[in-house]
C-alpha cells in the first residue's frame, strides 16, 4: 500500500535547461513537509526521467522547464510512460509555460502546471488531494 509510507516524488529537469532554482526550491520545500523527494539534476532525456521514476517507484513526477523546450520534452515523457506501461503516477509540471501550452499539456495528461509565483503550499495541497 502506497499510503503507508510518505508520498514519494521525483522532481525532474528535462532537456538542456539549466535553471534549477525552481526545481530545487520545490524539492527542498516538499522534503521539509515530510515527503520523500528524489531530484534528477539537470539535463535528462525523457527516457532517463521515466527510468528513474520506475526505479524509485514514485507516486508523482514533477517536470520543470524554463527554456521553452517543455512541449517537446514533456510530451515525450508522457509517451515513454505509456510505452513502459507505467500506471498511476501523477505527473505535474512547473516553470515558464505559456497559457496556450498549459492547455495542451493538460490534454496530454499532465494534471497541473505551476507557474512563477506558485507557493510550495499550493503544490503540497495539490499532491495531497490527488494522491490519497
Amino acid at each position: 500500500m502506497k499510503s503507508k509510507r510518505p508520498l514519494k516524488v521525483l522532481i525532474a529537469k528535462a532537456g538542456l535547461d539549466g535553471h534549477e532554482r525552481g526545481a530545487l526550491v520545490v524539492a527542498m520545500g516538499l522534503r521539509e513537509a515530510g515527503l520523500e523527494v528524489v531530484y534528477t539534476g539537470i539535463r535528462n532525456t525523457p527516457e532517463q526521467i521515466v527510468a528513474s521514476a520506475i526505479q524509485e517507484n514514485v507516486d508523482a513526477i514533477g517536470l520543470s522547464s524554463l527554456s521553452g523546450g517543455h512541449m517537446a520534452q514533456f510530451q515525450r515523457v508522457i509517451e515513454v510512460l505509456i510505452q513502459e506501461k507505467v500506471k498511476g503516477v501523477l505527473v505535474f509540471a512547473g516553470g515558464i509555460i505559456p497559457d496556450e501550452d498549459v492547455k495542451r499539456l493538460r490534454k496530454l495528461g499532465i494534471k497541473a502546471v505551476f507557474g512563477p509565483g506558485s507557493s510550495i503550499a499550493s503544490i503540497l495541497a495539490f499532491l495531497r488531494k490527488n494522491l490519497k
Partner: protein
C-alpha cells in the same frame, strides 16, 4: 561636512574606476538579445543599433552553449529558444551581415563553447577585412559559475580551465582589445544567493582564473586588465549600490596584495550589470517596469560600465520589440534626464552607504576565507559547497515569501485578479526541421577531406598542452561545425557529471 577619504578613480576604486565617471562618458547600453535564426537575430541587432544602443550582447540557444549542433537529437525542442542557434560559420556570417565588426563591441554570453564562438567571430572579422586588433568585445568564458548555478558546462573543471586560459593567452597576443573573461555573479544571484555571497563567489571564481593564468606562465599585468565582471542588480537599493562599491575595493586589494599586480588597470574591477530577472513577476507585469527602473538606478549609482535593463516580460519570454525598446528607453531617461550622472559616486560619504559597503566587504571576506579553508574555489565547487549555499539561501527566500515576511507586490500582497498572460515565444515550429536540412546541405557541400584533417589535428592538439585557439580558427574556417568540434573534445576531456544532492 567631511569628505570621504577614498577618491573616485584612485585605489582601491571603491568610489568608481574613473575620476569623473559618467560626466565624461556614459555607460554602454547593452541589451542582451538573440533568438531563433541568425537572420532574425540580425534583424533585432540592426533594430537596436538604429535606436541608439551602443553595444551588442549575444544570446545563444542551449544546444550552441552545450556543444550540440541544431540537428543533434539532444537539441530536441531547444533550437533557437533562449538565443540564436549557431552551428557553423554560415550562421555566424548571417548574424553579423551588414554590421561592421570594427564599429560595434560584441559581448557573447558563452562559456563552455566560448573558444569556438570566438573563433567564428574572428573568421567573420577576417571576411569583413577587419584586423583582429580592431575588435572590441567580450566572451563570458566564465565556466566556474556554470557548475554552481547556470548549468551549461560540458567538460570537467580542469580541462575547462585550460580552455579559459587558452582564450586569455591567445587574445593577449592576437586580439588585444578583447575582454577575455567576464566573471559573473549574475546567475548565482538569480539562483538565490545573497548580495555578500554574490561578491564572494564571483571574486573567488575570478581568483581561480587569475591563478590558472599565472600557472600558465602569464604575468598578472599582461592579462588581468582584460578580465571584466558581470553582476546582478537586485531590489534592495542601497545594499546593491554598496555591493558594487565593496566588490571594487575587495578586488583591487586582492590583485595588489595576493597577486602582486603593479598596473592599476589590473586592479580595477570593471563590470556589466543586468537588472534582476528573478525579481520580475508574471503577476501584474507592468510593475516590472518600475522594479527595473529602480534596479537600473542602483547600478548606475554603483558605477557600472555597461547595463542591460530587463524588459517587463523578460522573466517569462523573449521580450517583444516594444518591451525591449522601453527597457532601453529606461536607461536613456536615467542617463539624460535624471541628473544622476553629473557626479561620480554620488552616494559616497553617506553614512548608510559607507557602513553597508564596509559590512558587505567584511561578509565577503569571511566567505572567501571559508572557501580558502575548503581548499580554494575549485574544491568548493566540486564538493557541492557553493551550490548548497546558493540553494539554501533560495529556499530561505521562498519560505520568507510564503510566510509573508517578504512582500512581493502583486504576488503575496496587493494581489489583483489580473490573469497571468505569458505569450508563446516567437519560435517558428519549422525552425528545427529547417536547421536539419541546412546542416545536411552544409555537410554535403563542404570539403570532407579537409574536415577530417581538421578534426584529427584538433584531437592531437587537445591531447597535448598547446593552445587550441589557432586550431579552432582553422576548424571553423573549413566549415567544421560546433557539434563536431565538441564531440572530439568530449572524447579527449570527458564530460562533467555533477552530484545532484542538495
Amino acid at each position: 561636512m567631511t569628505e570621504p577619504q577614498e577618491k573616485p578613480g584612485r585605489f582601491p576604486f571603491t568610489r568608481g574606476i574613473y575620476p569623473t565617471m559618467y560626466r565624461e562618458r556614459l555607460w554602454t547600453m547593452r541589451q542582451y538579445a538573440g533568438f531563433g535564426t541568425a537572420a532574425e537575430t540580425n534583424r533585432r541587432y540592426q533594430y537596436l543599433l538604429a535606436h541608439g544602443q551602443t553595444g551588442l550582447s549575444m544570446a545563444f540557444d542551449l544546444p550552441t552553449q552545450i556543444g550540440y549542433d541544431s540537428d543533434d537529437p539532444l537539441a530536441l525542442g531547444e533550437v533557437g529558444r533562449v538565443g540564436v542557434a549557431i552551428s557553423s560559420l554560415a550562421d555566424m556570417e548571417r548574424v553579423f551581415k551588414g554590421i561592421p565588426l570594427d564599429q560595434v563591441s560584441t559581448s557573447m554570453t558563452i562559456n563552455a563553447t566560448a573558444p569556438i564562438l570566438l573563433a567564428l567571430y574572428l573568421v567573420v572579422a577576417n571576411q569583413q577585412g577587419v584586423p583582429w586588433s580592431k575588435l572590441n568585445g567580450t566572451v563570458q568564458n566564465d565556466i566556474l559559475k556554470e557548475y554552481s548555478a547556470r548549468g551549461t558546462y560540458i567538460f570537467p573543471p580542469t580541462p575547462s580551465l585550460r580552455l579559459v586560459a587558452d582564450i586569455v593567452e591567445f587574445c593577449a597576443k592576437e586580439v588585444p582589445g578583447w575582454n577575455t573573461i567576464s566573471v559573473g555573479g549574475y546567475h548565482m544571484r538569480e539562483a538565490g544567493c545573497t548580495a555578500a555571497q554574490e561578491i564572494a563567489f564571483t571574486l573567488a571564481d575570478g581568483i581561480a582564473y587569475v591563478q590558472t593564468c599565472i600557472e600558465r606562465g602569464l604575468a598578472v599585468d599582461s592579462f588581468a586588465p582584460r578580465i571584466a565582471f558581470f553582476f546582478n542588480c537586485h531590489s534592495n537599493f542601497f545594499e546593491e549600490v554598496a555591493k558594487f562599491r565593496a566588490a571594487r575595493r575587495l578586488w583591487a586589494h586582492i590583485l595588489r596584495e595576493k597577486f602582486g599586480a603593479k598596473n592599476e588597470r589590473s586592479m580595477v574591477l570593471r563590470f556589466h550589470t543586468q537588472t534582476a530577472g528573478s525579481t520580475l513577476t508574471a503577476q501584474q507585469p507592468d510593475n516590472n517596469i518600475v522594479r527595473t527602473t529602480l534596479e537600473a538606478l542602483a547600478a548606475v549609482l554603483g558605477g557600472t560600465q555597461s547595463l542591460h535593463t530587463n524588459g517587463k516580460d523578460e522573466g517569462s519570454v523573449i521580450p517583444t520589440e516594444e518591451s525591449a525598446l522601453l527597457a532601453l528607453r529606461t536607461q536613456q531617461i536615467i542617463a539624460h534626464e535624471s541628473g544622476v550622472t553629473t557626479e561620480p559616486d554620488p552616494l559616497g560619504g553617506s553614512y548608510h552607504v559607507e557602513s553597508l559597503t564596509d559590512r558587505l566587504e567584511q561578509q565577503a571576506r569571511d566567505q572567501l576565507h571559508k572557501i580558502d579553508n575548503l581548499g580554494g574555489m575549485l574544491k568548493a565547487i566540486e564538493s557541492g559547497y557553493v551550490r548548497r549555499e546558493i540553494y539554501r539561501a533560495a529556499s530561505k527566500h521562498q519560505q520568507a515569501v510564503e510566510a509573508g515576511e517578504k512582500i512581493i507586490v502583486g504576488v503575496n500582497e496587493y494581489v489583483s485578479d489580473q490573469p497571468l498572460k505569458a505569450k508563446s515565444q516567437p519560435v517558428d515550429p519549422r525552425l528545427e526541421p529547417r536547421r536539419r536540412r541546412e546542416l545536411a546541405a552544409l555537410r554535403k557541400k563542404r570539403n570532407a577531406g579537409k574536415v577530417k584533417q581538421c578534426l584529427a589535428t584538433l584531437e592531437k592538439a587537445a591531447n597535448s598542452s598547446e593552445n587550441l585557439m589557432p586550431v579552432l580558427v582553422d576548424c571553423v574556417k573549413s566549415h567544421v561545425t560546433l557539434g563536431e568540434i565538441c564531440r572530439v573534445l568530449r572524447t579527449v576531456f570527458g564530460e562533467h557529471r555533477p552530484s545532484h544532492s542538495v
